[in-house]
Amino acid sequence: MNFLGRYTSIIITTIIFLALVIGVLGTNFYLSFQTEANAEVVNIAGRQRMLSQRIAKSLSNVNSRYQNSRKYTQQLTELENAAHLFNTTLLAFKNGGVTQSTKSGLTRLPPVSESAGIAAIEDALVLWQPLNASIGEISLSLQETNTAQNDELNSQLLSTAHAYADQNINALLGLMNDLTNHSESIANDAADRSRLIQTVGILASLICFTVIMYLILGQLRVADLARQRARQETDQIFETVSQGLFLIDREGAMGRQQSKALESIFGVKLDAGRNFKNFIAPLLSVDDLTKVERYLKLLFDPHKKQRLLVDLNPLNKLPIQIEERGLIKNKYLNFTFNRVSRDGKIIGILTSVADITNEVKLERELAAETVRNEQQFEMIKVLLSADGELLPDFLKSSSHTYEKINNILKDPARTSLAFKKKAVSILALVHKTKGESAAMGLNFISSLCHEFEDEIEHLQNKPSVSGDDFISLTVMLERLMSTNEQIDSLFNALNTPTIDKATPNSESSDTHSSLTELAQSIAARQGKKVYLSLAGLENLNLPSSTRLNVISMASQLLRNALSHGIEKPATRVMRGKNEEGKITLALFEENNHDYKLVCEDDGNGFDFDTLRKKAFANGLVSEKDRTQLKPNELLSLTINNSLSSKPSADQDAGRGMGLKVINDLTKDLGGKLALQTKSQEGSRFTVRF
């Protein structure tokens, strides 16, 4: 309806225009018949003129032939025919009626209605009727038998008629001339009228047509203006919007309309019609590019719910590098895709690109800040509760270790093998710090150490290692060092008499609770259950540096016993053991200043078979030696070559460093390490120092 409303005037005018055209054509058709009929009337009137002359001539011929006794039959017939036609036509003019056409057949004449015509006909009839009657008499008389009496009558009739004709034929001719002129003027009038009607019709049609054109152009102008305004508005939006906007069609081509922000986001102008995949390809890995392609396909699939595809968007938080004024800039972009449908069919995807670099940075800073805060909180918590004397020792010891790592890092190396050897040395040192920090309850340091270990392992697994690969290790070391500095400054700030005066009892219970906490957190991570029995680790009358080593050793032994010794509950039940494993960690003073640290578990015992396989797999022994290796030889191989019986490393064990660290710590203490073990029953480590 709305559509009709807008075009009502055009439709009405067009209907009028069509009616006018049909009217003009119809009139024209009718008038052309009329003109033809008028022309016939004029022709017939002209024929009357000719007939009047022929009658006079035929009459004269019949008369002269009759007088000279010549044959006159043909001339008489001509006379009769002419008189008959003249008479019929004249009467038809007067009353309306049928007469012979000038072409062929018959034609109907309308009665003459104008006074001038009627007068001419009336006058002609007055002159014609006596002549017609005479011709009739002549015709009859000439058919009778030729007698002397008859002959005289005929001659007289002919002479009289001839004389009458001579006398009046010009007048009759004149009247017929008038009739012709009169008919002509009527035909001319009709033709003029017809021309006038046609001219008026054509003019009206033209006016109508002009109005239609005016209305149509007006509508077009309005539509154009609306379109132009819409285009201007779109352009303005596209100029000012801060997001990059463009359409992607089914073939993957990018649309012509693009927001200006796209240029600043990508640093280049995007070509309309360019394939989106080709455009984005340089910014993505081959794998991610395939994902984009697949994602677009899903977006064009009407059976998939658009809102439920958002989580799969592969271009969410996309990191890119863009050259801006000769500088490479790192950015984060977020692409969002929205279907554009027409008549229920998806015709394109409206893509909007937002530069979210600042948001991502902020998010990261916030996350880092949160981690820092958590670390500081943990530090403060530890510092407040930790062994006030042990912490400086830990800081000293770890700083010393970091220095050693730094020196190893600085050591020149050329070959890949030399670099790998450096990595192994660093790994042992980091592992030691990890054990110490865990024993102190400094979990943030132990998890940093674990990340460090991951990094080293990553290097070891690389086919070839160069100096550049060690940059990440330097970064990790710096993080550890700066953590130490933070602890140091916090410790100094908090170094109040309360901490200094911590009672020995609280120290020892702290050591116990740290170890218990460590045991429980490892057990929880590995899905194991454990009961830890502790004895003798309180009231240690030892120099603080020795005490740190003892605690570090204790935590390393505990970690080992839990990771390698204690089985998962299901395995334990299967072996007929209690679901909960038991670890005993005890320190005894045997003689004066002679100590014994014992760690006993009721777990797996040593898995010599697996260790043999690992030793062979690492190329440490030959296939033949492998089967003949004795347990103590295997143990020494394990300690010196960092073998682990665990298939992969986790935060607690698996790098094969545990025994090495225990061995090193034993050496540091100037002690001796002994191991008793029985498969599936348990192990006992004894360190005497």
């Binding site: 794998d287 395939t290 994902k291 697949r294 994602y295 396909k297 899903l298 009407p302 059976h303 998939k304 719910k305 658009q306 809102r307 439920l308 595809l309 989580d311 799969l312 968007n313 592969p314």
Partner: protein, 121 residues
């Protein structure tokens, strides 16, 4: 009322979905703990909407989706998965699932997603 089948190897998640789905719109007709169970239950209970985990024992999510769609190509499958790998999620959709949301989800996420599944576009 739409017939809902929940497929997830975690009992906790199955309960959570059952509890949090809109009771006025969905009738939880069955829950499956693995892909094989899901295929059997589809035949038995004829659900029209399915929530599907991707990592399950016996028959994984992708394979399960393939079989479900083969049995009933009108079944609407919403993948609810903790997978970080978007490619697997996409594979699930390519095999016939209709939508995807990630774990963890809250009640609102689930309700909106399930509503989307049954509303005609």
């Amino acid at each position: 009322m739409h017939r809902l089948m929940i497929v997830d190897d975690s009992k906790l998640i199955r309960h959570k979905i059952a509890r949090q789905s809109d009771q006025k719109l969905f009738d939880v007709v069955c829950s499956a703990a693995n892909g094989e169970e899901a295929v059997d239950m589809l035949k038995q209970f004829n659900p029209d909407v399915v929530t599907m985990d991707l990592t399950m024992p016996m028959l994984d999510g992708i394979e399960c989706i393939k079989q479900l769609v083969e049995i009933d190509d009108t079944v609407k499958i919403l993948v609810i998965s903790a997978l970080n790998d978007k490619a697997t999620g996409m594979e699930a959709l390519e095999e016939g699932a209709m939508g995807f949301i990630t774990k963890p989800f809250n009640e609102n996420d689930l309700r909106i997603a399930l509503m989307d599944m049954v509303i005609e576009d």
